[in-house]
Symmetry: C2
Subunit: 270 residues, 2 copies
């Protein structure tokens, strides 16, 4: 763990990350001492900081810190948090605040071996995501909706919960982005009102456009999920999980999900 | 400062308060070594913890910690944060997590002397509050909306920003609750979709009902604010501020706001 470049696992109780969730984060997979797609993660971090008006720490500084972390542990999941810093009392940001850089390292979570190949069971969450276009898509630290959605189910066989927004549109998984395959196209939810636009979502869209597969970014309903030829979930830790089971619906064949998974993991191991 | 009963101003970078804003807080004014309305604050804390499924630390334990803080500083503003604790990676709460208790102490902020008596200038915020009925009214740590709303204005003459929701309903001040006085009634926004229901809001409503003044809790629009006979703001630190100026509108007489202020401050000094 590193906090502002020092080996440390503590932050100030006056840090705005704690007080207000006033910060952003990235979850990055590292393999063979290499942080996968780090430049892409940095671009997202920079974008997210910009939207919230947080000064993004520079690429060289963060890359150096990342290197020092990876020298100690080469196969891991890395979490990077950047907060607006710690300052005076009150909501208004202070221009003198220096952002806080927090790095934490975890071992790879152990998911059942067959989830990636044979698909996962998912559920609908009760909680509906609120619309906040000012910071929709941003991976910020205001994550109470995800916490309460994750708390709904204690069933370990269910790999992920699917979230709708207040209008009933399907948005994402609790910790993943969602794609449908329908009539040869990819469809992924519009995230301009809520949700988190992850790095893997972008990679899938880039892959599709390189391979002549049309991608639609648009609103859709639970019925569209049920009628899709394939449904799959992506994030930086899980990679790609096809959906095998959702309520009464079963999917057995995952040709596109498998192509996506093979492409992403081939790129990862390059 | 106290963290889990120890003199300390640091918390773990794995605390869910930082990671997800997964916690609640209270801001309490202390005068002459006495935390004003502490039992009322505790009831709210307990309610808010319950809604989020956080185990609320018990009253005796928190009261003891509060007493030890006040023995060192008798005139101050106290912030109490309770988070779900620090645990394993992932959004899902873990039943083994122990809540984290964080106390911080600040000196009374110095506001211009005449704001309480002669009223304050306020503005409309651009940012609109999202609807999340699952934790509307709760004083939780997901406060990015308040941060961005506070960041909109750098004008020190403006004491507070007024927030609307996504539907255009008036909800609250950035750090205060709002009341209108209209035809002898008090009107305060319905907070079932967004906003924070503060302790002072409850005290004002209790005062009104004791004094035979009708109170309406309902949705209303900016026009209703502009047409109100009086508008006033409350929170535990400021007490009561009548509104003197909002865009082109001026208010000069504050008979009800003054009665409310005198009642609350008299009760405070008992």
């Amino acid at each position: 763990m590193l906090v502002n470049g020092k080996k440390c696992d503590l932050i100030s109780i006056r840090d705005r990350g704690l007080l207000y969730g006033d910060g952003v984060f990235r979850t990055i997979r590292a393999s063979q001492g290499h942080a996968l797609h780090w430049p892409l993660h940095y671009l997202k971090l920079q974008h997210d900081c910009f939207v919230l008006g947080i000064t993004c720490p520079n690429f060289v500084l963060l890359s150096d810190e990342l290197r020092s972390l990876l020298s100690a542990q080469s196969e891991c999941v890395i979490k990077l948090i950047v907060t607006r810093g710690s300052g005076t009392r009150g909501y208004a940001p202070n221009i003198l605040e220096e952002p806080t850089r927090i790095w934490d390292v975890f071992s790879h979570p152990k998911y059942p071996m067959d989830w990636a190949a044979n698909g996962v069971k998912v559920r609908w969450c009760q909680l509906r995501l609120s619309h906040q276009p000012r910071f929709a898509g941003i991976k910020h630290l205001n994550r109470l909706e995800n916490v309460l959605a994750a708390a709904e189910s204690g069933d370990e066989d269910i790999a992920e919960g699917l979230l709708m927004d207040v209008m009933g549109n399907v948005i994402e998984g609790v910790r993943s982005n969602l794609f449908l395959v329908s009539q040869g196209r990819l469809i992924t939810p519009d995230l301009s009102n809520c949700g988190v636009a992850g790095v893997q979502r972008e990679r899938v869209m880039a892959w599709a456009s390189e391979n002549g597969i049309p991608v639609q970014v648009r609103s859709f309903l639970p019925d569209d999920v049920m009628e899709a030829d394939e449904v799959f979930l992506v994030n930086s830790v899980i990679g790609v999980w096809p959906v095998r089971e959702l309520e009464q619906r079963r999917w057995e064949l995952f040709p596109i999900s498998t192509r996506v998974r093979e492409y992403l993991s081939k790129q990862d191991s390059r």
